[in-house]
Subunit: 340 residues, 4 copies
């Protein structure tokens, strides 16, 4: 079938490739003309503007928007202005699910259908396929089924869950209609919240392993510093590339994120290419906000997010408050950089 694609970054371009490989036709647009040029070709027609893209699509049109969350709203507005009743907009980016609800309501007035589609897979999606979490009207989502099926990874990439029988469900292909508008991005949001937690669990564990030789380093003995009581138990120089590798087979903690970590450590065992300033894209925060509204405790997911804030110096003032207090009640001076 035919699909418009707006946004030809890493993910947009890969989606187009997966679609055309399955025989779908795409009409594409990006604010950067070179991106359009790069993608255009067999089964793909480029366009120089949203108007042009709309003109090249047959009604009822379906257009997938794959742009950064910060500009999704405006892009969709512009797009909708060119569309007709019966057309469909799919937001495949990381929009806040509440924005979906508001947008769908607005678009409904013009008879335009809105589908929110959380898309997971990162840079590997081109070959691995993308996991799709979809929200919107049943009939519309059904109509787009061939599109979703081509983008999704397919049944074979994972062993069947014991107990599953008969024709594989869409979920077993790697795409799922989660519920009404916003449900797709809600599930994707929580997916990302979990992702933060998983990543942090590995990172903290590897940090412990990395410092298993703490007993070899000297430590000062003064009133300020907690002495390491049991230095003899911290004499291990552990090989993290090998350890992450061995965990990939047979362990309880095997995962795709571990596979990637093993790969990173193989190429850069001490990760000296990184400074450790870790961004967050907003979905982790929204996940916590949802938990707050639901009164669901999420200490792990929160801690994972806060580590990122701290890595970007977000705790600086709080730490200075602590130092000021310690100076006040105990006369303690701060240690210098490098001392621990």
């Amino acid at each position: 079938m035919q699909l418009g694609m707006i946004g030809l970054g890493r993910m947009g371009a890969s989606l187009v490739r997966r679609l055309t490989k399955d025989g779908h036709h795409c009409v594409v647009y990006d604010v950067i003309p070179a991106a359009v040029k790069k993608v255009a070709g067999r089964g793909v027609r480029g366009s120089a503007s949203i108007d042009e893209l709309i003109a090249k699509l047959a009604k009822p049109r379906a257009v997938w928007v794959m742009v950064p969350a910060g500009v999704a709203g405006k892009t969709i507005e512009k797009l909708a202005a060119c569309m007709d009743a019966g057309d469909i907009i799919i937001d495949g980016g990381n929009s806040y699910y509440r924005d979906d609800v508001l947008r769908a309501k607005t678009l409904k007035k013009s008879g335009i259908h809105y589908v929110d589609c959380g898309t997971s897979g990162g840079v590997f999606g081109l070959e691995r396929g993308y996991c799709l979490m979809i929200g919107g009207e049943k009939r519309i989502v059904k109509h787009l089924d061939p599109i979703f099926r081509s983008i999704a990874p397919g049944v074979t990439v994972a062993p069947r869950t014991p107990g599953k029988q008969g024709t594989p469900s869409p979920a077993e292909h790697g795409y799922l209609h989660c519920g009404p508008t916003g449900a797709g991005h809600f599930v994707k949001m929580v997916h990302n919240g979990i992702e933060y937690g998983l990543m942090a669990a590995y990172a903290e564990g590897l940090n412990i392993l990395r410092n298993a030789n703490a007993g070899k380093r000297g430590r000062e003995t003064d009133a300020e510093t907690a002495p390491l009581r049991d230095a003899e138990y911290y004499q291990y120089d552990l090989d993290l590339p090998q350890i992450t590798e061995v965990w990939r087979r047979g362990s309880v903690i095997g995962s795709w994120l571990l596979d990637l970590t093993a790969s990173s450590l193989l190429n850069d065992p001490r990760l000296e290419d990184y400074a450790g300033r870790v961004s967050d894209s907003g979905e982790g925060r929204w996940t916590i906000a949802a938990a707050l509204d639901e009164a669901v405790p999420v200490p792990v997911l929160s801690a994972a997010l806060y580590e990122r804030f701290s890595s970007r110096d977000g705790a600086d003032f709080a730490n200075r408050v602590l130092s000021a207090m310690r100076k006040q009640f105990g006369g303690h001076d701060e240690k210098k950089k490098g001392e621990r």
Copy 2:
């Protein structure tokens, strides 16, 4: 080669099976005679006591101890008392790595070699193989290589990490000599710490999804209760079995633990078989203790452990302190069970 096995529970029995399938010979013992009987057969000779087991093994003997952490110490003592210089004890259980260091020192006096081997894989290890994290003397670990190789999952169970070349390393087979005595259990300990974190990340995320219909439930409005401001955004009845299934393909958070979760939810979508009292086997605590010694922050791993403590009513008195304070300064009465 020949191996003694003490402890024929779930894991011990499976190890024996994997070994004999590869042509190794096992002499086995368990405190429960029926367990011995069940395992004995082709390639496996049972014994009614440790003495008998020792008698049936050729020197230098190698005996794998696979018993609960609580009795490992005594079992190893008893075993050592029957052994000769040059013999080898492998502790495959979840011993504290510091006990390994102490035991190895003691055994060394009698010329007995001690190998600590963290063994991950759970009840699926029989078919999947076990991930082995090994500590001890280089020469002794080398000597036991055929044993480890048979127990480990083997190269094919995971795609090769990009960049790896040549003959697969032991780590790529699923076993690794991590370092001197204790290093194996140290790495296994952190493995379990990470496991707690991963599990908690999924559990918290699923809890948020489960409560995505919070807006449908009424909530009281009084000075005590935070009203749900945005009930219209919490109207989703999400299908957790389907969601965990869809995440298994193409998503960033795919893992073996997720596979198992999808399987659990398929059979019992609301998990009504469980009350939610979650045990911990000690390794999570030791992981935190190591982080404390190393001054490595582990908020995620700690939070995961504390959730287990709380699930077993460990926070009860603290919560009562909070209620008492609230009563004091605000005159607040506690809500009844069932109210939130």
Copy 3:
């Protein structure tokens, strides 16, 4: 000066008393007529409706609203409908500061001034005075200064901060104009967030002390249970009422919350009057939400809030997910209630 007061619960009634003691005149109203009756008397005129209250006040009127957060919005709407340009509404409750911003904007159209005033002090405020955190227009807040001064505790209740000189500032009296509309409730919101953190710190610490006799209790030894390694170090039966008492003098952790805790423990050393279901009134959640927006890490404040969620069974489903996973990979059965 003259002030209207709507809401005569614990706090509203106390405010009126502090005001009349200083010679101010109050016109009061509450949805419960008996509450009006109870407060009316010297310097206090009751009224049976908001209309009547408005009629009894001289222009420009100033009316303090002291009602639960859940009904503040509607009360203020009703009140504003009866008011004239130049009148002032003070919201002294726990409103969300964003609602302040919206309300002030709406009221401005009718020329009505809005002041948000976070009020801390609890049931002890009548005698101790209330700490006031105020937001709104400079001129209006200035106009109300005599009111705030009478409600606040006054300079003498705390020793002067070293370095302060000259005439005590309003902050030293216990009230502060924090900034434009919303600033008062923003500061009060964070005040409550901190309160949760302080309370949790004491509660957790006391819980550790309470369990310092853990070594005296037996613990099972099986594969499921972490054995207590060092039972000999947990043999203390500590006297919590005495310990909280001793901390009140000279220690670093002295505070008003500690005073209250000592008082609670004196009367009920094991806190058996409480079940430990701890409510939260919303301000803790908003505090976290603000931190998320600001990218400020708040692990302590979050953990404190999540403990309350957990105390009200908010973690139940998450815990069942953990149990289901443990059953899957390890065949572990849950412990029964009472077992730890």
Copy 4:
């Protein structure tokens, strides 16, 4: 009565002053002769060695050791070697309570009594008095009562807890015999754990207030960065010195730590004197370790400690792991220093 004092740092010197003011006689020693000279005078005899100190004391001798935790063990050993049966050693420092238990056992063989005394009060103790948490034999602690009473703050420094009647108990004077050997330092340890939690609660809250103007700062809009959705609600420039001052009167969060914080902020409103590298002296770690042994959840106390670890770059490697993962699956590059 007569007391020996070893260690004349901030705290040791102040103890001596409080004791002599009450008419006690002290014999003092410090490794730094100048410290001895400074303290010696009316009621205080200096000595140049431990031997000399011992010689100057009448039997049964009582010697208070007030040295950094790292050297306490050796000092006590040396001291004990010079003592006779019936003599008493008081460890007033921050020793680990388990060391108390071991030391007391050893000293008992020589008939020497050992008293552990947690001493809280910081640099203000000279005037405020010290809060004393004491462990040891009943008879010996009783014998030292006059010493403890002189060091403690006394009844008048806090209002009496409602319900207390009759002659004030020692706890109301500010000292308490908590239980057998180690109980004093156990209670002091938890005291410090709570202290960390309280400090962190204030620090996090103040950090939120500090960043309440986040909406005024620009923020980039790209796929990497979570945009601030509601910039209009983060326009407050709050005055932290004034806010901490106002909280000192009538609020729920008043405390001595808050008094100190207000004082710090008055002198240095942006705390530019500090870099925010926050040490920990070990007691926080031991507190967590005790909670782990007792299976008591302490998310707040742990988070507080971990913030200190992070402030000293303890999370660096973990953060680099996160960056490496993000690069792998999403092709994300790290933000530069200064970008958030």
